[in-house]
């Protein structure tokens, strides 16, 4: 078996408490199976998902990151996701200029009713990450720092 077949990526998901987290919950209670590669970190709102957390996730060995929350207009705090969206638009460009792999950072709006969307999207992310392989460039930097 080649390592591509055995590689189990680590995917970190930063999700808001009110929509995507409940979407994940619904997927669970509906017995919709999705890959176990996901580690969910629940935050109050996408507005709280500091860009630095994405970097931290990679520093801690993530091969892909997902950031997800309520659909525009549905934020529990009215506008957290609008603020977040504006920041993401800019942040992606910075990462692009630095050569950080944007194929490994995913964004979505998933509501509490969208258990199926959650399941499908996670499957897709994990498959894509398997195809990309481990994020070795980042892991190398972390290894250097730790030795």
């Amino acid at each position: 078996m080649s390592s591509a077949d055995t590689f189990e990526p680590k995917v970190i998901a930063f999700v808001c408490n009110w929509c995507t987290y409940l979407g994940a919950d619904l997927a669970g209670t509906s017995r919709l199976e999705y890959p176990h590669n996901l580690r969910i970190i629940r935050l109050p709102c996408t507005g709280r998902i500091d860009f630095n957390l994405i970097i931290k996730a990679f520093e801690n060995g993530a091969d892909s990151v997902l950031v997800s929350g309520c659909h525009p207009g549905d934020c529990h705090y009215t506008s957290g996701n609008f603020h977040a969206r504006r920041r993401w638009i800019l942040f992606r460009e910075l990462l692009e200029a630095l050569g950080i792999d944007s194929q490994r950072i995913h964004f979505s709006w998933i509501s509490a009713a969208e258990g199926t969307k959650f399941q499908k999207f996670i499957k897709e992310i994990v498959e894509k990450t398997k195809a990309l392989g481990p994020y070795n460039e980042m892991k190398e930097i972390v290894r250097q720092a730790n030795t």
């Binding site: 860009f51 920041r87 720092a145």
Partner: protein, 283 residues
């Protein structure tokens, strides 16, 4: 009359009329170089210097406690520095009614014996947002360069090459934070990187910590950086921080039509939103 003399006269006038307690300007400093001087005595305004070595963005001193203690400031700015004042104003960091701003018409300054990058695309030779503007007797036509020209270098690389480039560059960062100290918009009382409970940015000068730090610094200036170049000029490692700042400036302009420092009566770009913000990557 030479521009420098006109400037000295104006500064003297302002101190004598008690419109300001201290003039923040350029002059000879101990090292023999041109740097910031703080003049409180009207009789010493003759020490003010104005030439193409006046590279520092003096607006950075407005945030310093020891300078605030000197009283009401009168600050001397180039056009590019004046943009920083506009940003500080919309972020409620300065009170324009409690200060005087003298702008000096500028045809370019030097950094380490080379013309500064920003000067080749300068569109504020005659400074905006000022109370007084000291003009030159002889004029020059505006430069035709493009502000984002430098980014072509990154555009011509693929993602992997860019990462390699930044690995090379950032491996030299020594975490001295001179980039932060010299930025007028880095005015946080306690910078995130100095907070240690929890440690959010690895403080070691390893690639891991250096990437995290430079990403944080650049992104905290998103939609706020005016491209004065003070951070790059201060970096002892010669890292071209302009490239990161310009990337975000370009993204702000392209996505939101926003150029920091141009207008005084706008809301900050980051910290506000529009329900109509457009993107194509959120699923």
């Amino acid at each position: 009359m030479p521009q420098q003399e006109k400037l000295q006269q104006k500064a003297k006038e302002i101190l004598l009329e008690k419109k300001a307690d201290v003039v923040i300007g350029y002059g000879k400093v101990e090292t023999g170089n041109i740097g910031a001087v703080f003049i409180t005595d009207p009789e010493r305004t003759g020490e003010l210097v104005w030439n193409n070595l006046c590279t520092t963005n003096l607006s950075v001193y407005l945030k310093r406690k020891e300078i605030k203690k000197l009283g009401k400031p009168c600050i001397i700015v180039k056009g590019c520095d004046a943009k920083a004042l506009a940003v500080l104003e919309i972020e409620n960091q300065i009170d324009r009614s409690a200060m005087t701003v003298i702008g000096v018409e500028c045809f370019g300054v030097q950094d380490r014996c080379e013309p500064q990058y920003k000067c080749a695309s300068c569109n504020v030779q005659l400074p905006p947002h000022c109370d007084f503007v000291i003009e030159r007797d002889t004029k020059q036509s505006a430069p035709q360069g493009s502000r984002y020209e430098k980014l072509e270098m990154l555009d011509n690389m693929d993602s992997k090459e860019r990462f390699e480039y930044w690995k090379q560059e950032l491996s030299r960062c020594i975490k001295c934070y001179a980039c932060r100290q010299n930025c007028p918009m880095c005015y946080c009382d306690v910078c995130v990187v100095d907070k240690n409970r929890p440690i959010r940015i690895d403080t070691s000068a390893t690639l891991k910590g250096n990437f995290a730090w430079n990403i944080l610094r650049a992104f905290h200036l998103a939609g706020r950086c005016v491209g004065c170049g003070a951070c790059s000029a201060a970096c002892p490692a010669g890292i071209d921080l302009d490239l990161l700042n310009l990337t975000l400036a370009k993204a702000s302009e392209e996505n939101f039509g926003y150029i920091a420092g141009v207008q005084r009566n706008v809301e900050p770009l980051v910290g506000t939103f529009s329900p109509d913000d457009k993107e194509e990557f959120i699923r």
